[in-house]
């Protein structure tokens, strides 16, 4: 900690100063913030800091242990890289939103109690939506609105869960929660939404590709990995997570194959990678939890790298649709190279970061004899190479030449991609420093003959399958289209149901009004009939006949009185 400012809060408060600084000073300042934050974490003693009492409840703003430190480190590194990548952006909204977002995510990772976690949790939601809105299109506005509703909803569930939890257990501490009881279920759902569990996932593929070029790089790193951290902290060893995670690894890759927007392809593959981490949490052994932590670390880097390369393409060509791109390696050779490093890392090629982290989870699944899960993970590993490893670089940079000629990415983007690519390779070649940071002692050697050869077999035969399908024309071509996913249920079905309900309501109302009008008209008509100019009650009677009628009336009255 820097003085007594908790990690995270430093970035949040620091960001608020940024908009008043002039261009170049602001850039230096934005770089310095995460650098200072990162320096503050190094050598931080494990323990609880910033404890205080509110209404008799014990809050702990900062809890430092190996798990929170690992996520703290990688969040700061990702922030630094994202800031470098965004140095050419002059938009102050994005600068502030990005840094508040990072700060909230860091704060949440170090939160020792559920209320602090909730505050930062909502902080990430509110700050990050500005990275989507900053695109300043109607499409982005709508996607951001849907994103915000879902993210804030997750926070509300977390708060409700925290309140029930404190009522049940009397403690607000954020430790293992477990699924038993209402509190556990509510908190699990809150984490699950942010972690993009199946059927709760669609905000991710909906919103991330609509954010700005640089915004998506920020977004890809923090929200979902914060959820992975929270699940690892609160629900390690929850068996349900194994099949939830396995579903997550397999089901998005089918969408990734047929999706045309290449940043959306990456969003689907992000979802698939989260699945591996969730399986690791579900298995809950030291090896699998190490795997989850290591995979989160390397994933943040290679996913950011892939989003950076696609962002550069979008910036330079104005489109990110596979159907319109191709042949860009001629114009953007460096970006192509960096993209291929990211692709090799996510595919877990030997010597790249994914290889040394994903294998921990697969080995843990095999050790636990989860045969079906292991097979699903293996299928997803082949699939991720297919759509992220090959499809992304192939359709953007190779395939048929689209004829687009553009400039190479700006220098700051190239520097950011270069450093990230270097880290991806460095972790793959020399995994020991990362292994040393993991929550439990590591007794695992990734580079065995069996592992290297079997992995190469899996990947290169997948590549062969792609090549054969491509050459035979079986591979589905990139087409301008959208594919229906679960968001259809709230973007269409709900709309149809609502408009039906409104139409029905409207017709009922109209019928009621029509009946009422008819009745009133009939009443007026009757009134008119009796009291109108021609009505018997409105006629001007002669005084004589009136006197006669009165006499008759009184006479009748008299008669009745005596009878």
């Amino acid at each position: 900690m820097i003085g007594s400012i908790p990690p995270g809060l430093l970035l949040v408060l620091g960001a608020l100063v940024a908009p008043v600084l002039p261009g170049r000073v602001r850039n230096v300042y934005l770089l310095a913030l995460p650098a200072v934050g990162l320096a503050g974490l190094i050598g931080l003693e494990h323990g609880i800091y910033g404890e205080f009492e509110v209404f008799g409840y014990q809050l702990a703003v900062v809890r430092v242990d190996k798990l929170s430190l690992l996520f703290g480190y990688i969040f700061h590194i990702a922030a630094l890289l994202s800031v470098i990548y965004a140095l050419h952006v002059t938009d102050r909204v994005q600068a502030v939103a990005g840094m508040v977002y990072v700060g909230s995510a860091v704060g949440a990772v170090f939160a020792g109690d559920l209320i602090t976690l909730f505050i930062y949790w909502e902080g990430t939601a509110v700050a990050s939506v500005f990275l989507i809105w900053a695109r300043r299109t109607e499409r982005a506005y709508n996607a951001g609105m849907r994103y915000l509703i879902i993210q804030v909803g997750s926070g509300v569930l977390l708060l409700a869960g925290a309140i029930v939890h404190v009522a049940e257990s009397g403690s607000l501490a954020f430790d293992r929660i477990g699924l038993d009881g209402l509190a556990g279920t509510l908190i699990f759902l809150a984490f699950g939404i942010k972690c993009a569990f199946p059927l709760l996932h669609n905000w991710l593929q909906d919103a991330y590709p609509e954010a700005t070029v640089t915004g998506t790089v920020f977004l890809s790193a923090f929200t979902t990995k914060l959820a992975v951290y929270a699940l690892a902290r609160g629900f390690a060893g929850t068996e349900m997570l194994i099949w939830i995670g396995a579903t997550m690894t397999a089901f998005p890759i089918f969408y990734a194959v047929i999706e045309n927007d290449l940043r959306r392809v990456l969003a689907y593959s992000l979802n698939n990678q989260l699945g591996f981490m969730v399986v690791g949490i579900g298995i809950g052994t030291e090896l699998s939890l190490n795997g989850t932590a290591a995979h989160a670390f390397s994933h943040i880097l290679y996913k950011a790298l892939l989003f950076m390369s696609m962002g550069a393409v979008l910036l330079r060509t104005g489109t990110i649709k596979g159907s319109e791109l191709g042949g860009l390696y001629k114009s953007m050779p460096l970006t192509t190279g960096f993209c291929i490093v990211g692709a090799a890392s996510i595919s877990a090629f030997p010597l790249f970061s994914g290889f040394i982290s994903k294998s921990l989870i697969l080995t843990a699944a095999a050790d636990g004899h989860y045969t079906l899960t292991w097979l699903v993970l293996l299928f997803a590993s082949a699939g991720v190479f297919h759509h992220s490893g090959i499809k992304i670089p192939y359709f953007a940079f190779f395939a048929h030449d689209s004829g687009i000629r553009c400039k190479e990415a700006p220098i700051n983007m190239l520097v950011a991609m270069g450093i990230t690519a270097f880290l991806c390779v460095a972790i793959g070649v020399w995994p020991d420093p990362l292994y040393a940071l993991l929550p439990y002692p590591v007794d695992y050697a990734p580079y065995t003959t069996t592992h290297v050869i079997t992995q190469l077999q899996l990947l290169l035969f997948s590549a062969l399958a792609f090549a054969v399908l491509m050459r035979t024309g079986i591979y589905p071509p990139e087409q301008r289209s959208v594919n229906l996913d679960f968001d259809w249920s709230y973007r269409r079905l709900l709309l149809v149901v609502a408009s039906f309900a409104m139409a029905y309501g409207r017709s009922t109302r109209e019928r009621l009004i029509a009946t009422a009008e008819r009745r009133i008209e009939r009443f007026i008509a009757r009134l008119y009939h009796h009291h109108g100019p021609q009505g018997p009650l409105a006629r001007t009677w002669l005084t004589g006949s009136t006197a006669l009628w009165m006499a008759l009336l009184l006479g009748t009255y008299l008669l009745l009185y005596y009878v």
Binding site: V257, T371, I404, R405, I453, L458, L460, F461, V482, N483
Partner: protein
Amino acid sequence: MTRKTDRTPEDKRYWLDDSRNVDKIFWALVLICFLLFGADAFYTKKVHFPFEGWFGFFGIFGFVACVGLVLAAKELRKVLKRDEDYYDR
């Protein structure tokens, strides 16, 4: 955003522009796969599940998985594909 779609006359030809070179890459890949498949004969696989030990298991699995994935996704497209402005209408 700079988008130049005009090809300049001095647009140089790249190695990959020649389809014969693309063929070379393909056959190189086939050769590498062939060698990797054969590699199973030369070391003792350390396995968790018995089926992992089958000769060339990972290669066959990778190939079948990817072909299956693409064919399934292609079928899925028939159900899921909509026009690009589907949600904007």
